[in-house]
Structures are given as structure tokens and as C-alpha cells.
């Protein structure tokens, strides 16, 4: 004892003394341990093992020592045995091979007399349990449920529960006994508590079995003074009620449960119990099933108010957290109760504690409506903005902006939440930032943007989000390591996709979206130093928008310029391909005008432009990505042709009118114009009806081979009624605008652009200064210069004339930013609960949000587009979770297992014993055979040695020693490998087959003998005689 203590002590002290070169020291120690653990001296072995366990804790694998663990486990001395078992708990897995050999040892120790020894295998089994191990130890465990020590009883029943998780039959055998224990009023209270814990675990998987226990559990709930057990009882009751509400078996249960629960709520001093009561009442559906409505209401109010109180209590973050946790559960069944608590929940979004924030966010996500979307998103944006790392890109000027608004913010929040101030300094982890951004996108795009009233605001938010999105670390070139999937998601790409969605779906906002896209491109170009590649995921969508809606670009030349600058710096092929297309589109919109006279100036301008584009595109003709290469080559050729045509067409002079080249005005624009692209529902394709008479299995032609051989001879008959040709060449023009006159007719588009409401009641301190400036400028611009402003505004917002008048009167001088409108907003939130009459809903900005296109009979109705994008994400996630979570227990078998199964299936204790006996016999047989072989071997050796008889005995003892050594030491390692393999294959067969087949058991070869080396020693005299007899 002393010695090994000393030596673990030495190890630890050594570790402490070798700060700096610990690794070296540990390696040295590991080497020593490796030698020590093989020694004959059990003390030394145990000491080495203890050191190994310690080193395992700090991250040094010890699975190689599993055989030595087994040896120490079998030590007769308790303090060594304990170390061995600890080693098993810490290092064995259910697939550890030597586990097979441990079965007998476990069984033996389970039958020990000393309770401390019995505890060891009981506590170890849950860590290593496998179905076959469960099968063979069950019979030894069951009697322990009646052990005189309460300590053993409760440990046993928990272990039986873990057995049942992998081997459901165990539950069938153990359940009657466990039930008896539970029903016994004289049972030790701590055993009862342990049973309740186990039943609670089981109850979550199979509540139906425990309904009959309800009276006893109820009794315990009323009488017990043990809070821990009461909590579990409430959790269990909750499950039972949930179950009972599904099958109207026990309507009385709820009526009986309610009084004691409310009693506990009113009287208990224990906060945890109070919390679980509330949680149980609401979540368990007790409210719904209660018969008298008035009473239920009263309780509901009581509960929710208590939870509200928990959030409001200052200083106790734990209560805040659990209350939010409860709300998160309640919101599934009683959303109205939670939405009343909006004010306190919103408060929590700004908590300094990320755990609380996340919970609050989960709640808020479901609570947003058009009324509170803007304030909620504003809060989140502020968080994001204030948490930006200082090195992060901040547009000059924004720093001046921030402190002012912060102090403003503080003044507003101080009344209700004085501790919120810390938030501003908090640096948020990227994960959380990504999470927030995703939630913002989710909230805004929910139900096809039904909550977004002001799309200008939304587009500005998106622009800002692109800047704040954390750069995904997958692009980190220096670390090749794969990051967890969450971090791989480029959230900027999602933001970009949102912008694209808005541009596609909200026609009226298209011009704004295009401007935003332009801005994003500019920004990315300017903030990334020249030579660095552009990697933002938002680039793809931004470039696509610029290209697709090139007509609406304010300054197409500048945009094209930006594109041309960007192309050489884009790293991802996917984005590059989009950029190539966009370039061509923008060029076509710049150069393709038919009406503009073909002057010398235009000619030279276009020639220059073409030369520039070609210059940028040409290197891409050799791009490694085929898609990029193909597009580049196509456009290069096309543009070269165009360049020729341009130079060949003399400019028109005063006397000589010249048309611009047709290639420029007709051919290229026609590539890109036509039907407008609309968003299509994800499942639309599925809804395309199968045409009658279409049989996909039918061969295209009866004799295809002949047909193919004829193709050489037969010339295509042109006059065959070619529906295909007709369809494609004579189809009606897609819309009023024909492809030849795209520019003019489409220029009209922006005119029905709405003048969006800029009276947005929010102080957009979270937007960068330049975006704010832009907003302001736009506002002024529209008010001052837009001759259509007033009439169009009247048409669009007839419902708010006062609004208009105000806006018109204040006109350009109105400085929105100086009005602290946010304050009003907070008031509004504060009042929502107090005053049930909500403020008049804001008039929705009259913009048409296009729904996804789909076909009749589609089940994915309108507005599903984003949802489905989300759900596909969720699907991916759920798919992922199909793989087991780390640390998760697989209990899938036990749920489907029936306790009251038919008799034939029932656990047959006798059969089990019979099988055991057979197994024993088989093992004996194996042992006998082994000894026989050993004898034969010895005889051969003896013959070789040609010694006198006296030596044989000596040799035998030596042999024994070496055999033992061989079993222990590394000499055996080579030989061990072989039998081990055999064990692996044969042993499960032997155990699972119930051992009824002797041959099968015999096939398992030596392992049983090896498993109990001691047994071998003891039994030696007898089997040897037996063997001699046999020989």
C-alpha cells in the first residue's frame, strides 16, 4: 500500500517538477510503467496501473494495458482489486477484447461476501456492459437486490437498469423484484429514491409500464421529505400524465396530482423543486386535461408568473436560465402564455451570459411578428456590431457613431436591466455570431417575408450582415484540419442568398437590392488589399444580382469596372463562373442599346471596353475548373467576334447614318433577356404531372440497333412536322418586351418602385455609417428630386395620410437619426403586457412578395421557399443526429420491449441456469482438452530432454511459472494475438448460443482457462489426474 502510494505521489510530484518538459517526463514514466505493469509483483503491477490511470486522465491512452488491468482486478487484495476495477472503468469499452475474459471474475466478485468487494463489479458493469456480458452476469446480479446492505441493493438496481438498456430481457427478470422493493414501505429511503431515479429514466422510454405504480408514486410524493426524489417523482408524474392524456386510461391521475403539486408550489422553500413543479404542470399537459377551466387558468397564471419572477430576480442567472428553459418547452404547447412574457424575454437577449442569450433567442425566434421584428433584429444587430473584434473592418466614422448610441442604449435599458452594460464589451464567439445571423435571416424570411414591413430596411440589414459575417475558417490555408461542420457553413453566403431572394421575389425592391449588391462588391474590393483573394460567400449572390438586373444598375460602367477588378481575385471557381456571366450581362446592357446612335465616340468606347474585358477573361481560358474554362472560352470568342464587328462598322456621321452592329444590339442581349427568372418552390418539380401515355420503361425504338445503323444513310427529313422546332422558334414573345428592345421597356420598371417608408421607428445604430449616410441621402434624394414621389406615395399608402404629410412637410430637412424613436419602441414593448390593446399595426409596405412558383396540387404551398431551405438544413441535421451523439446511450431496444410479453418470450430463469451449467461443463471440457495438450507437450519436451524422472517434477513447476509468465508478460504477446482472434470469433457464438452446443464452446479454445489463471492453479492437481486418466 505504502509503496504504490509513494510512487503515484512520485509521478505527480515529478510532473509538477518538470514543468516545461512534461511530455518527455511522461514518456519516460510511461516506459517505466510498461515494464512495471508486467512484473510479477502484484504491488508493483497495481502501482504501475494506478499511474497509468492517472496518465490516461491527462490524455495518454492505456488501452494497451487492458490485460494487465484484468490481472490486477483478479488480485485477492482489496486495495489492489480496487485499482484494477478503476482501471477497467476508465479504460475498458464494450468492445475491449479482454472483457470476454473478465466475465468469470465479475461473476466471482459479485458473489463475494464483503460488500465493498461486491460494489466493485456492480459499479464497473455499467461502463463495460454488452448484451452477452449482461446475459451471463444477470443471474449473479439478481440475488444482490436482496442484499442486506442498502448500499448494495441500490447500486445493484441501477446496474440492472443499465443492463436492461443493452439487454432488455434483464428488465423482465428484474422488474418484479424492483417493484417489490418500491412497494415495500420499510425499504431504506435511499433505496426507494434510487428506484425512483431508475423508474424515471425508464419512464421516459416506456411510460405505459409505470402507470399502475401511480398510487405508490403519489404516496411517495406526498410523504417524502427528499427533494431530490420529489423532483424525480414530478418528472415521472409528468411523463405519466403525458402518456395518460394520449390514452384516456387514468383521468383521475391529473385530478389527484394537481393539489399536491400546487401545494408544493406554494410552500416549498427549495427553488429546484418549485421549478420542476411548474415545469411539470405546464409541460405535462396537466393544464389542458384539468376539467374545471377556471382552476386551470388560475394555475397557469400562477406558474407563468412564478417563472416570470424567476427571470426578473436580479442576480440569479441560474433561475433566469431555467425559467427560459421552461418557457422554451411551454412555447410548444402554450405559445400564448409565453408571448405574454415577451418583455422579460427580450431583456434576456442582451444578457451578458451566452447560455441565457441562446435560450432567449430560441424563444424569440418563434415570437416575432411584424410588430416586433424590427426592434428584435435591431437588438441582435447591435450585439453583433458591438462584438466585432476591434481589428475588424470598421468603416471610418462608425467609431464616432457607436459610443453615442451606446450611451443612448444604456440609458434606455438601465431601468429594467442594470447589468446589461457588460454586453457591449463581450466578445462573442464566431459560432454564436453565425447563430445570430442565421436566426435573423430566419426571422425575417419567415412565411415568405410576412413580418418584414420595410424592405429597404431589410436590405440595409443584409448589407450590414455581410460585413459582420465571420469569415469561415475552412478557407484557412495553413491548417489542413477539418473543422466541425457548423463552422464550415459560410454564413455570408446565406446572407447573400437572402439578398438574391429579395431581389428575385420582391420586384419593387429590385433596384434597391441591386444597389446593395453593388455596394457589397465595392466594399469587398476596397477593404481587401490588392492581391488578396476575395473569399466572402456573399460575393456569388451579389455578382449574380448585378448581372441579372444589370438594367437597374445606377452606374453600370462602374459596376462593370468593379467586376473586372474582382474577377482575377476570386478564388472559388463557382463564384468565378457566375462572375463571367455577370460580366457579359453587364456589358450587354451597357453596349447593347439600339437607340443610341453609333457615333465615333460610342464606337471607341465600346472597343476599349471590349479590349478590357478580353484582357481580363483571357487568362481564364486556361482555368483549372472546366465550368470556368468553358464559359471563359465562349465569351472570349463571342466578344472577339463582336470586337471585329465593332471595328468593321464605320461610325455614323452627320450625313451617313450607320446602325450599330447587330451582334452588339441583337445577338448578345438576346442571350440574356427573355423570360424573367422567378423563384420556384423546392418541390415544384415533383408536381409536374406525368403526361398520359408516357411510359419511361418502354424502349425508345423497337429496333434501335437498326435505326442507328441507318443513320449513316438516311438524311434527316426536314419537312417532318417538327414540333420541337416550332416550339422553340415560333413561340410567342415572352412578355410585352421582346428580346430586341430590352432596355427601354425594362427601364420603365423602376418607376413602379415604391418609395419605401423611411419613417422606420428604429435608430439604426447597428448599421455602418456609410449605409446610414446612404439611407439619408436616398431619403433626401427621393424627397427632393423625384417628381413622382408625392403621387406615387399617395397611391401606395393611402392608409397613412398623416404619415405622408409629416414626411412631406419635414421633407429633406428631416433628420431621422436625431430622433430617438427607439425609445418609443421600447415603451411599446413594455406596454404590450400591461395594456392588452396593442398599438395599431403598422401599415404594411405595399410591396408584392412573389411567392414561389409551383404547380397546381402542390402540397408545398406559397411562401415555402425559405422554409424549405431551412427545413432541408434541419433535415440534414436530423440525419446527422441519426448517427449517435457523442455520449448518447442507445436505448432503442428497450422502448420496444414489452414487460408483459407473452410467456414464451418471458425470461426463463431456469433455462438461464441450465445454460449456465452447460456452459460450465463446456468450459471444463475445454480445460480438460487444454491440459491434455499441455501434457502431451510436456511429454515431448521430456522426451527431448531425456531426463530422469525426478527432474520432471522440477520442470513441471518451472513450466508452471513460465506458463504464468507467458500469460502475463510480453512474451505472450505474440502468442496472445492468435488465441485472441479466436476468442473474438468463437466466444460470442458460444455465449449467445447459450452454450448448449459443446462443440461451439470447445471452439472458443483456451480463453476460459486463461480468464481464470488462479482457478487453474488451484484446480491443477485434479485436472492433471483427470488428464492422466484420459490418457
Amino acid at each position: 500500500m505504502r509503496r504504490f502510494e509513494k510512487s503515484l505521489y512520485d509521478l505527480i510530484r515529478g510532473l509538477r517538477n518538470h514543468k516545461g518538459n512534461e511530455k518527455e517526463y511522461i514518456q519516460k514514466t510511461l516506459k517505466e510503467c510498461r515494464a512495471e505493469v508486467r512484473s510479477q509483483d502484484m504491488d508493483l503491477k497495481a502501482t504501475a496501473l494506478l499511474k497509468l490511470i492517472y496518465l490516461e486522465m491527462v490524455g495518454h491512452d492505456m488501452s494497451w494495458a487492458s490485460f494487465h488491468v484484468l490481472e490486477v482486478m483478479s488480485s485477492p487484495k482489496y486495495h489492489q482489486k480496487r485499482v484494477g476495477y478503476l482501471g477497467a472503468v476508465q479504460s475498458f469499452r464494450h468492445d475491449t477484447e479482454v472483457l470476454m475474459l473478465a466475465t468469470n471474475l465479475l461473476k466471482k466478485d459479485l458473489a463475494a461476501t464483503s460488500p465493498t468487494v461486491i460494489s466493485l463489479p456492480i459499479a464497473t458493469l455499467p461502463h463495460v456492459i454488452t448484451p452477452s456480458l449482461a446475459l451471463s452476469t444477470l443471474a449473479d446480479l439478481l440475488p444482490r437486490l436482496n442484499h442486506s446492505h442498502a448500499n448494495i441493493r441500490k447500486k445493484t438496481l441501477v446496474t440492472l437498469y443499465r443492463l436492461a438498456l443493452v439487454y432488455p430481457e434483464a428488465l423482465r427478470a428484474a422488474w418484479p423484484k424492483i417493484k417489490d422493493r418500491l412497494m415495500d414501505p420499510n425499504e431504506d429511503p435511499s433505496v426507494t429514491a434510487a428506484i425512483v431515479n431508475v423508474v424515471c429514466e425508464l419512464g421516459s422510454r416506456r411510460p405505459n409500464d409505470f402507470l399502475p405504480l401511480a398510487p405508490r408514486l403519489f404516496e411517495l410524493l406526498v410523504d417524502s421529505g427528499n427533494n431530490w426524489m420529489a423532483i424525480k417523482l414530478i418528472k415521472l408524474a409528468n411523463l405519466l400524465v403525458q402518456f395518460a392524456s394520449l390514452t384516456p386510461l387514468e383521468p383521475r391521475l391529473v385530478r389527484k396530482l394537481l393539489p399536491p403539486l400546487t401545494n408544493i408550489i406554494r410552500t416549498t422553500p427549495a427553488m429546484s423543486l418549485l421549478y420542476e413543479c411548474i415545469n411539470g404542470i405546464i409541460q405535462g399537459g396537466i393544464l389542458d386535461s384539468a376539467e374545471d377551466v377556471a382552476g386551470a387558468d388560475e394555475i397557469a397564471t400562477l406558474c407563468v408568473n412564478k417563472l416570470r419572477g424567476m427571470i426578473m430576480i436580479n442576480g440569479d442567472a441560474n433561475l433566469k436560465y431555467v425559467a427560459l428553459l421552461a418557457f422554451n418547452k411551454i412555447v410548444l404547447t402554450h405559445p400564448h402564455l409565453v408571448s405574454q412574457q415577451e418583455d422579460v424575454i427580450l431583456e434576456c437577449i442582451d444578457s451578458s451570459d451566452i447560455t441565457i442569450r441562446v435560450q432567449a433567442l430560441n424563444l424569440v425566434k418563434g415570437m416575432v411578428s411584424s410588430d416586433n421584428l424590427v426592434p428584435v433584429v435591431s437588438r441582435l444587430m447591435k450585439q453583433l456590431k458591438s462584438s466585432l473584434p476591434s481589428k475588424d473592418r470598421r468603416v471610418p466614422g462608425s467609431s464616432a457613431n457607436t459610443p453615442e448610441t451606446e450611451s443612448d442604449d444604456e440609458a434606455q435599458t438601465a431601468i429594467t436591466a442594470p447589468t446589461v452594460r457588460d454586453t457591449q464589451a463581450l466578445l462573442l464567439p464566431d459560432d454564436y455570431r453565425i447563430d445570430i445571423i442565421e436566426r435573423i435571416l430566419y426571422m425575417c424570411s419567415k412565411d415568405n417575408y410576412s413580418s418584414v414591413l420595410d424592405f429597404d430596411w431589410y436590405i440595409d440589414v443584409l448589407t450590414q450582415l455581410v460585413r459582420m459575417a465571420p469569415v469561415p475558417r475552412t478557407f484557412d490555408a495553413d491548417t489542413g484540419a477539418l473543422l466541425p461542420t457548423r463552422q464550415q457553413v459560410d454564413v455570408a453566403e446565406k446572407v447573400g442568398d437572402e439578398l438574391r431572394n429579395v431581389a428575385v421575389k420582391v420586384r419593387a425592391m429590385r433596384a434597391t437590392a441591386v444597389r446593395a449588391a453593388d455596394l457589397i462588391l465595392d466594399q469587398l474590393l476596397s477593404e481587401n488589399p490588392v492581391g488578396h483573394s476575395l473569399s466572402s460567400g456573399a460575393l456569388k449572390s451579389a455578382i449574380w444580382i448585378i448581372g441579372e438586373y444589370a438594367i437597374q444598375l445606377a452606374m453600370p460602367d462602374d459596376s462593370l469596372n468593379g467586376l473586372l477588378q474582382a474577377i482575377p481575385r476570386i478564388g472559388k471557381a463557382e463564384i468565378l463562373a457566375v462572375a463571367l456571366h455577370a460580366t457579359a450581362k453587364v456589358f450587354s446592357s451597357i453596349a447593347g442599346s439600339e437607340l443610341e446612335p453609333w457615333t465615333a465616340e460610342r464606337k471607341s468606347r465600346i472597343s476599349l471596353l471590349l479590349a478590357r474585358i478580353l484582357d481580363v477573361l483571357e487568362p481564364l481560358a486556361l482555368h483549372p475548373s472546366l465550368e470556368v474554362q468553358e464559359r471563359a472560352v465562349e465569351f472570349i470568342e463571342l466578344l472577339k467576334l463582336t470586337a471585329e464587328a465593332v471595328s468593321g462598322q464605320p461610325p455614323s456621321t452627320d450625313e451617313n447614318h450607320q446602325e450599330p452592329p447587330l451582334l452588339l444590339t441583337q445577338a448578345i442581349p438576346s442571350l440574356f433577356t427573355g423570360w424573367e427568372l422567378n423563384s420556384v418552390a423546392v418541390h415544384a418539380q415533383k408536381n409536374v404531372p406525368l403526361p398520359d401515355g408516357l411510359d419511361l420503361d418502354e424502349p425508345i425504338h423497337g429496333n434501335l440497333g437498326r435505326l442507328l445503323s441507318q443513320t449513316d444513310i438516311v438524311t434527316l427529313q426536314s419537312d417532318e412536322a417538327d414540333d420541337f422546332e416550332v416550339y422553340y422558334h415560333q413561340r410567342p414573345p415572352p412578355s410585352s418586351l421582346s428580346s430586341s428592345t430590352p432596355a427601354i421597356s425594362r427601364l420603365a420598371d423602376p418607376e413602379d418602385d415604391t418609395a419605401g417608408s423611411y419613417q422606420q421607428p428604429s435608430e439604426e445604430s447597428y448599421l455602418d455609417a456609410d449605409i446610414l449616410a446612404k439611407r439619408k441621402a436616398e431619403r433626401m434624394e427621393k424627397n427632393k428630386d423625384d417628381p413622382f414621389y408625392i403621387p406615387s406615395d399617395n397611391i401606395l399608402r393611402t392608409s397613412t395620410p398623416i404619415h405622408n404629410i409629416l414626411q412631406n412637410n419635414n421633407g429633406p430637412a428631416l433628420d431621422i437619426d436625431s430622433i430617438p424613436v427607439m425609445q418609443l419602441d421600447l415603451d411599446k414593448i413594455g406596454h404590450t403586457v400591461a395594456a392588452p390593446s396593442r398599438p395599431r399595426p403598422q401599415p404594411r409596405q405595399r410591396v408584392v412578395v412573389a411567392t414561389d412558383e409551383t404547380l397546381e396540387g402542390s402540397d408545398s404551398g406559397t411562401g415555402r421557399q425559405y422554409d424549405s431551405e431551412n427545413s432541408s438544413l434541419a433535415k440534414a441535421r436530423s440525419k446527422k443526429s441519426k448517427q449517435h451523439s457523442l455520449l448518447q446511450v442507445d436505448s432503442s431496444t428497450i422502448g420496444s420491449f414489452s414487460l408483459e410479453g407473452n410467456a414464451s418470450e418471458a425470461f426463463d430463469y431456469e433455462r438461464q441456469q441450465r445454460e449456465e451449467a452447460e456452459m460450465q461443463q463446456a468450459m471444463k471440457e475445454v480445460e480438460r482438452l487444454r491440459l491434455e495438450m499441455q501434457r502431451a507437450n510436456e511429454r515431448i519436451q521430456m522426451a527431448q530432454g531425456a531426463d530422469v524422472q525426478g527432474v520432471v517434477i522440477k520442470k513441471k513447476t518451472k513450466k508452471k511459472a513460465t506458463a504464468k509468465k507467458a500469460a502475463d508478460g510480453d512474451e505472450a504477446e505474440a502468442t496472445k494475438a492468435k488465441p485472441r482472434k479466436k476468442v473474438k470469433k468463437a466466444a460470442p457464438q458460444a455465449v449467445e448460443g447459450g452454450g448448449d452446443d459443446t462443440g461451439g464452446a470447445a471452439a472458443s479454445g483456451t480463453p476460459p482457462a486463461k480468464a481464470a489463471p488462479k482457478k487453474k492453479k488451484k484446480k491443477k492437481p485434479a485436472p492433471v489426474e483427470e488428464a492422466e486418466g484420459a490418457v
Partner: protein, 203 residues
């Protein structure tokens, strides 16, 4: 159910690791030995992830952590409640002097009760060691395991009474004292149990 009980110090060095459910590593039919090596390294990764989370908590935060990425990746689905009750979804921690105590558990455990469970554990250690400090735990990690196995078996709590736990550990043999010559100066005062926390009354 409790999935794991961890103790580590302010530098993230583990002082006790106990996993009641196995770390399911994906990777198909990797050889057992390498998988176990992986297990050990995943355990270490989990500890360091939790340590990062726990060491960045501002003062006054609650005793619950967001799921570390290693656990979060696989437990985000909310498909069925049955699935939920098996997945580790709650990380509770407490901070005493130089040590962090962590419990990873599923939803069947009550969060507030877990906070108290840690308190009981620390109080039991305090009783066993008399004014416990980190050094006691370093040099007697066997006792740490013994104490824990009097409270939790296979992830299920079996005992919450302080006296019974202490008696159970003592029944297994004498609890060694810390080495005398290893001064306590490195740690400072004990862990200051009871005085700094108002939670004792809750369970």
C-alpha cells in the same frame, strides 16, 4: 441520466474524468485499439472545449453552459422527445477556488438539482479530507472516484445524503491525507465551501 462527470482546474488540467456513457466515435470499423486511442483524445478534446467555454464566463453568469461544439453537432434535432431524452443536452458546472466541476447530462435531470449535486460532492470531499484543496484531489484521485461511485452509479444518482456518502467511502478504507511536505501555499485557502454560495437551501 448523467453522461459524464468532470473535474479540471483553472488551467484546464483534468483532475477527474468519468464517462458514464461511451463516446460514440464515428469511423466505422476502425481497429479497436486505435479507436480507444481516439476515445482518449476525444475525451481530451471535449474537456478542452468545455474548458474554453467555462473559462470565458463573465462574472454573474449562470451555472449552465451552451453545448460544446463536439456535443452540439449531433444533438440539434428536435424531432422526437424520445430521442431528446437520450441525448446529452445540459452542461452544468460549478467553480470552486481553483477547480471546475462539470456534469454533462440529459434532460431527465433537473438542472437546479445538478448544481446541488455538485455541491454535495464537494462537501463530501471536504468532509473526507477536512478542508479540501486541489492538492488533495491531485494526490488522492482514487478517493475522488470512490466518492463519486457512492453518489452516481452508471449515470444514475443513487445517494444525495452527505453522511451516507462519507460513510460509504470510509467503509472502503482509510482516506489518505495529503503529503505533509507539499505545502498548501500553492493553492491558498481551501475551496471555501458553503460560505460563498446561497444554494444549500435549495435541495
Amino acid at each position: 441520466m448523467i453522461n459524464a462527470f468532470l473535474v479540471f482546474n483553472g488551467q484546464g488540467q483534468p483532475r477527474l474524468t468519468k464517462f458514464y456513457t461511451q463516446l460514440n466515435t464515428q469511423g466505422g470499423f476502425a481497429e479497436t485499439i486505435t479507436r480507444q486511442k481516439q476515445d482518449t483524445s476525444i475525451q481530451q478534446r471535449l474537456i478542452s472545449e468545455i474548458f474554453t467555454l467555462v473559462s470565458n464566463r463573465p462574472a454573474g453568469s449562470c451555472n449552465f453552459l451552451p453545448l460544446p461544439p463536439l456535443l452540439a453537432a449531433s444533438s440539434t434535432s428536435h424531432t422526437s422527445t424520445e430521442e431528446q431524452s437520450d441525448v446529452p443536452s445540459l452542461v452544468t458546472y460549478r467553480h470552486y477556488a481553483t477547480l471546475y466541476f462539470i456534469i454533462i447530462s440529459t434532460t431527465t435531470e433537473s438542472p437546479l438539482a445538478l448544481i446541488d449535486l455538485i455541491q454535495v460532492y464537494v462537501e463530501a470531499l471536504d468532509k473526507l479530507f477536512e478542508n479540501v484543496c486541489e492538492l488533495d484531489l491531485i494526490f488522492n484521485f482514487e478517493t475522488l472516484h470512490a466518492t463519486l461511485s457512492e453518489m452516481i452509479i452508471g449515470g444514475v444518482v443513487i445517494e444525495t445524503s452527505l453522511d451516507r456518502i462519507v460513510a460509504g467511502v470510509r467503509a472502503q478504507g482509510t482516506v489518505a491525507k495529503r503529503p505533509v511536505n507539499e505545502g498548501r501555499s500553492t493553492i491558498g485557502s481551501g475551496m471555501g465551501i458553503g460560505g460563498n454560495f446561497a444554494w444549500t437551501g435549495r435541495v
